[in-house]
Symmetry: C2
Subunit: 431 residues, 2 copies
């Protein structure tokens, strides 16, 4: 996907590239075996319809830190990759196994978020250009009639209320063959989406009301272990360690001891790994709402004390996530420094990779000028820099050195697909 | 597939754009119905593994004039589309229905054609980057051992003799799961390829020794008729009329009267169509070897006299095609002017569209400075100009006028896929 345009691929800090170089070399050398392994995995566990994966690249390890099965942000992808997304969408719809001509996208209900609406306009456009008729069917109780919203980009989105007719949902007289969720169902599955005879993806059971990050990362741990055995590396180079606590109340300070103990033990485990691989950084952990999303309910801790000494404001912040859902379960995840930076200001950056079915179709860097390399970048003030892959993730060129951009992106494509595979196995396990 | 690079999309002569505008408008207006129709067709008649289609665009009609099921010329595609081809190859191999890790490409035997070898290098590279192990297994009796040929582009190709072991073919100790023919089998199916237990595509029965252009265009006629009914147009706007003669000997002047009569009748039919649509051009026909390829055994005729008065040199030229195969059957096809030109010199140009499975993955213009708009451009002196689709063929934007480049390419993508569908039906009919 090159090559005539200048490539705005970000600068990658090279201070800590030793083990990563080794990882990249291993991935390149075993490319055919890796792709063969992925092919066998997808035959066994079909990939989700679509997904985005947040990665962190610290130089000493590359790991997924979040896997979103209801990806927004399609507006942040490089338009140069459009036909790749279109082709992948055609393939993904074909795989549904039943003829599809009409699609309803069920979006998030926060219709005032212009960025989210731009995402919807792009996603709708991609599906239309893939040859489908598409409508947006909103769950929002505030939306009483069809509403057209004009967007800063010049696009517009036409939102209409989703209606139920027997075991089908419709938008006006538009009766879809396929319902595509772009709403992560943080508040649970609304009755209107239950027991439909139409094809619906992703399955409602994969909504955030049912999913736990700790369950996803358990599946990821299994995937990473198998994959690491295949290429002969320590799984730690691709897998963030984690623990979880099941009964937390930040406001009432309940479950505090579980949290503190796990933070301490996890920091110890990271410290040992840093010593083993001579990593000269201060270990840290991320404490996250186990069912959380949108970057809400996330904090960084370098010691158990930091978790003990949260002030009231910090507790309030940690206690609720999207749509006011209360946080009772948390995952404590090994913090992975992001040693990638973007631009002259050296703003901290982390890659986000997009997949449709099992195809890598693009990505961008989430960039945050006001955050450090050990903080959550999914926070107000972040911005997005579309990736112009020199060659897209799926096409390494073994004749270039492992430092070449194309190869770094191959690595990202592999790690993202490992997270996708974890989600695929997770999907099969949840009923 | 835009848009940061300046788009070298060729100038399209606009003198005769009336009916084409109408055709393009119809295609755009009925896009969802068209794509839905194609989806239903591919479910019924799976697309060939890959194909290229030569189109002619006269302004008053857009029609395929040749469909190649063993496409060369991958080196002429724009590298910017690589990941589209890679993704489509992954999908096409997945559809073979049986796990594939190792692929042998069986190339043409003319190893001195540097352009063909560059094509092989690109095709092999695409398959490797799609995650397969690939070898080139030659049928050439002159090739006794593995030979590496360095190419002007800097690439090299490693040719080795194809060997038979029981019901399998191998290249050295490389035992492929899938044998991909890039050899059109003009001389018939060699015994080494018969009755293999490995997957082989395209089927040997689709080699040029078994195929006739007239059979392909009979299937195309059926496809064009159905499609024209779908969008409500005269099928003539997308279908070149043709006739055929089955027992010709150019050297002995046998079958001459069949040829002359058909040339005359076809010219009359074209004349009537030109009158019906007020086309101000002189009708002509192409006389082609019915089993021919490589642009050999092709002539233009504006009258029956031109066919009667062939001199000895012209007869010799018409009497044999690739690898010295004797021409005994000819197709007489309505000539379609190409009113597309390339560059400042207004060189005559015709688009060639490439497909993998049913995906349009790119194309180029075949450009010939020394030929006129009514001549075969597949001739020595031709050159290739890769297309940088502003948007690739499969993604029209209804908000742009029908003159916009993206939409013209959508039209080309539709007509090419109609030819592909004809080939798919042809494949199912031949056993």
């Amino acid at each position: 996907m090159s090559a005539t345009a200048p490539s705005p691929v970000p600068h990658l800090t090279t201070a800590l590239t030793g083990p990563l170089h080794r990882l990249e070399r291993e991935l390149l050398a075993r490319q055919t075996a890796i792709e063969s392994w992925f092919r066998a995995q997808w035959r066994r566990s079909p990939a989700p319809f679509y997904a985005s994966v947040d990665l962190r690249n610290s130089g000493y390890k590359v790991a997924p830190v979040d896997t979103n099965l209801f990806p927004a942000g399609f507006n942040n992808l490089n338009p140069a990759f459009e036909s790749l997304s279109i082709q992948a969408l055609q393939q993904a719809v074909e795989r549904l196994g039943s003829p599809v001509d009409r699609i309803v996208i069920v979006p998030e209900s926060h219709t005032r978020n212009v960025y989210y609406l731009e995402n919807l306009a792009v996603l709708e456009g991609l599906l239309e250009r893939a040859g489908f008729a598409v409508r947006l069917g909103s769950l929002s109780p505030d939306l009483e009639e069809e509403t057209v919203i004009e967007l800063p980009s010049g696009a517009d989105v036409r939102l209409a209320p989703l209606a139920r007719r027997g075991r089908r949902v419709t938008v006006g007289d538009f009766d879809p063959d396929f319902v595509l969720l772009n709403n992560d169902l943080s508040g649970g599955t609304p009755p209107i989406l239950e027991d439909l005879e139409q094809i619906l993806r992703p399955a409602t059971r994969l909504g955030w009301a049912n999913r736990l990050k700790s369950v996803h990362f358990s599946f990821y741990q299994g995937v990473a272990k198998e994959f690491a055995a295949l290429i002969g590396i320590d799984p730690w180079f691709i897998d963030p360690m984690f623990r979880n606590c099941g009964a937390i109340d930040f406001m009432k300070r309940e479950g505090q001891s579980c949290l503190e103990r796990n933070v301490e033990e996890l920091l110890d485990a990271v410290t040992r790994k840093y010593a083993e691989y001579d990593v000269q950084c201060r270990p840290f952990v991320m404490v996250k709402a186990d069912a959380g999303t949108y970057g809400m309910g996330v904090m960084t801790a370098h010691s158990a004390e930091e978790v003990m000494e949260l002030n009231r404001k910090q507790r309030t912040k940690m206690s609720t996530t999207k749509e006011g859902q209360k946080v009772t379960k948390v995952i404590i995840q090994e913090g992975v420094y992001t040693h990638e930076t973007w631009g002259a200001g050296n703003a901290v950056a982390e890659p986000v990779v997009y997949m449709i079915d099992h195809n890598v179709v693009g990505g961008f860097y989430r960039v945050h000028t006001g955050r450090s390399s050990s903080e959550n970048l999914n926070a107000p003030g972040m911005r997005f820099e579309p990736l112009a892959f020199e060659e897209c993730c799926i096409s390494p060129d073994p004749d270039q050195g492992p430092d070449a951009h194309s190869n770094r992106f191959y690595t990202y494509g592999v790690i993202s697909r490992l997270a996708l595979l974890a989600a695929a196995r997770e999907s099969l396990s949840v009923t």
